[in-house]
């Protein structure tokens, strides 16, 4: 048969138009593999923590969370004081940091003269750039002496009758830890709140101003309520930071396995316990107990962070708000 080429039969594609592009699948493969490194790392990290924490979990069960005994000699471990100390120091930090951070965010978005906004925002960002260990150094040699001389005596005079301010103040204490943490998390809360407030539609503000509200009233009654979930998210991101912060806290909190109500007394946090004791842990069970502490810390911070992000996303959907600050 001879093949008479007809109009309906298209000629085969010449070589010049044929597929010869091997680069695309290769490129996609490489960057996908690199991206998969992240979940893989996280998986390995969690698995390692869990596997190594197993012996302590088996031995102490849920009692690990509630027992206050931490006795390496008797090989009895309970993490209640550190969990308590972690939560209290972080909450204390929030109490101090939230008004400051919101002040920064509101001032910079609503009231500050335009030319001051960038420099002030930069200074606040710099607070986040100061290494943790430098905060610790400053806490030991500047903050604690200051507290001892100027801040604690009037505090005790005014509030000494409450259980929160009882006992002798030696320096290293929950209070010192909380203040240092507060200074450290202000930039995170401020940065994210600022972005949240900026993401509030201008119409909200203008509507309030149009009704004759003063600028403050517009902020208070229109902007902040609209951004509330996002601001709560920002605060929780700060909380997540505070919970996991290690060095500065370790250096000023006193590192004592104790549960006390007074913020003037030393305390302990989970991160500090790991930092102090991990390389000294001589027995397998001791090490395993520290792994369990690490696992608890990890689970709490992940939960707080995940919740925080959900809240921030509700205000500024999809935008990668706060990813720069975090």
């Amino acid at each position: 048969m001879t093949s008479a080429t007809t109009e309906s039969v298209a000629p085969p594609a010449p070589a010049s138009l044929r597929r010869r592009n091997r680069g695309d699948p290769l490129y996609r493969g490489v960057v996908t593999a690199l991206a998969l490194a992240l979940p893989l790392l996280l998986l390995v990290l969690v698995a390692e923590l869990a596997v190594n924490a197993r012996p302590a979990m088996r031995r102490f069960g849920w009692g690990f969370l509630t027992s206050s005994t931490w006795d390496p000699v008797a090989e009895v471990y309970g993490a209640a004081p550190m969990i308590f100390g972690t939560l209290v120091s972080s909450l204390l930090a929030l109490v101090i940091a939230v008004p400051l951070a919101l002040g920064v965010a509101i001032f910079l978005t609503e009231f500050a003269p335009r030319w001051t906004r960038k420099p002030v925002a930069f200074l606040v960002e710099l607070l986040a750039a100061v290494p943790s260990v430098v905060y610790g150094l400053w806490g030991i040699f500047v903050l604690i002496p200051f507290l001892r001389t100027y801040a604690v005596p009037p505090l005790k005079a005014a509030l000494g009758w409450t259980p929160l301010f009882q006992g002798v103040f030696y320096g290293n204490s929950m209070l010192a830890g909380g203040i240092i943490l507060a200074i450290m998390i202000v930039p995170y809360i401020a940065a994210v709140s600022r972005e949240v407030i900026l993401a509030v539609p201008a119409s909200q503000r203008e509507a309030a101003l149009g009704l004759g509200a003063t600028r403050w009233e517009a902020v208070w009654s229109a902007v902040l309520p609209y951004g509330r979930p996002g601001i709560i998210g920002a605060v929780m991101l700060g909380l997540g930071r505070a919970l996991g912060e290690t060095m500065a806290v370790t250096m000023v909190i006193g590192n004592r396995h104790d549960i006390g109500l007074s913020v003037l007394q030393p305390g302990y946090t989970m991160a500090a316990a790991i930092a102090n004791e991990f390389s000294e842990a001589t027995t397998d069970l001791y090490l395993s107990a520290l792994f369990e502490v690490g696992l608890i810390l990890f689970v709490i911070t992940v939960a707080v962070n995940a919740l925080a992000r959900l809240l921030v996303w509700r205000v500024a959907r999809g935008a990668a708000i706060g990813s720069k600050a975090l």
Partner: protein
């Protein structure tokens, strides 16, 4: 319709372009004779840009975009299974509405960008090709002394001619212009229109425009699209002076669109 002849380079055969289930171009069959300028006109949203983007397989880059029917380049269906879209685009160059110089590259490197894709051309030939392309785009005299400065510093009209130079540097067979003067001032527009007359000696040009006067000025053939359908196509002179269909006449006289 244009007569089918041996020099036929580009044609569509019942081409339908879809976004998900919505057809933006419906069963369009068109012939684009070699070394002519064909204008595609129609009201905005009529699918003229989509049609153009099908001719070098740019359409399929959008989300959910696909086509049925054929686009024939020298008789070969560019949507055929063996054909690589990347190779098609090297033979069918394109210039967009807004100038898109690569901001990180110099003027020279912008024009050389398409030449270097394969990395096969020796350096001396690249320089020759860049000069040739810039001359074809009537830009050489304005930039020959600053070839290695940033392309972003050029004016809008210069940038657009740079993009034309970049598109013609690899010597494609076809040049697609998607409203190339939409963001230019009258002087810039005029230069691009003059260029079309020059460039058709070497390339087959398809230009999308919403400006009927422009179509009348630059093109040899015109196709009128409305709601994704080809209403009428023919020699520009004929179409503008004695359109066969009332719909075409209505559009040309500004009664809608």
């Amino acid at each position: 319709m244009a007569p089918v002849d041996a020099t036929l380079l580009l044609a569509t055969d019942r081409l339908t372009a879809l976004f998900h289930r919505h057809a933006a171009v419906k069963e369009v069959s068109l012939l684009f004779p070699s070394n002519t300028v064909t204008a595609i006109i129609g009201p905005s949203g009529c699918g003229k840009s989509t049609l153009l983007r099908c001719l070098n397989r740019m359409h399929e880059l959008s989300d959910g975009a696909w086509v049925t029917g054929k686009v024939l380049l020298e008789g070969v269906d560019i949507y055929g299974g063996e054909v690589d879209a990347v190779q098609v685009r090297r033979r069918v160059g394109m210039v967009f509405q807004r100038p898109t110089p690569f901001p990180t590259m110099s003027i020279f490197d912008n024009v050389a960008a398409g030449l270097r894709v394969d990395g096969r051309l020796p350096t001396s030939q690249v320089a020759t090709a860049v000069e040739r392309a810039l001359q074809q785009a009537a830009l050489w005299d304005e930039v020959k002394d600053r070839l290695h400065t940033s392309a972003v510093a050029l004016s809008g009209g210069q940038q657009q001619r740079l993009c034309i130079a970049r598109a013609v540097a690899p010597q494609p067979d076809v040049l697609l212009l998607d409203e190339p003067t939409a963001s230019l001032d009258p002087a810039g527009t005029q230069r691009i229109e003059e260029l079309c007359h020059e460039l058709k000696r070497r390339y087959t040009i398809v230009i999308v425009t919403h400006n009927m006067q422009q179509a009348a000025r630059v093109s040899d053939y015109t196709a009128f699209l409305y709601l994704g359908q080809l209403i009428e196509a023919g020699r520009t002179r004929d179409l503008f002076t004695k359109p066969r269909l009332e719909q075409t006449e209505a559009y040309l006289t500004g009664r809608f669109g």
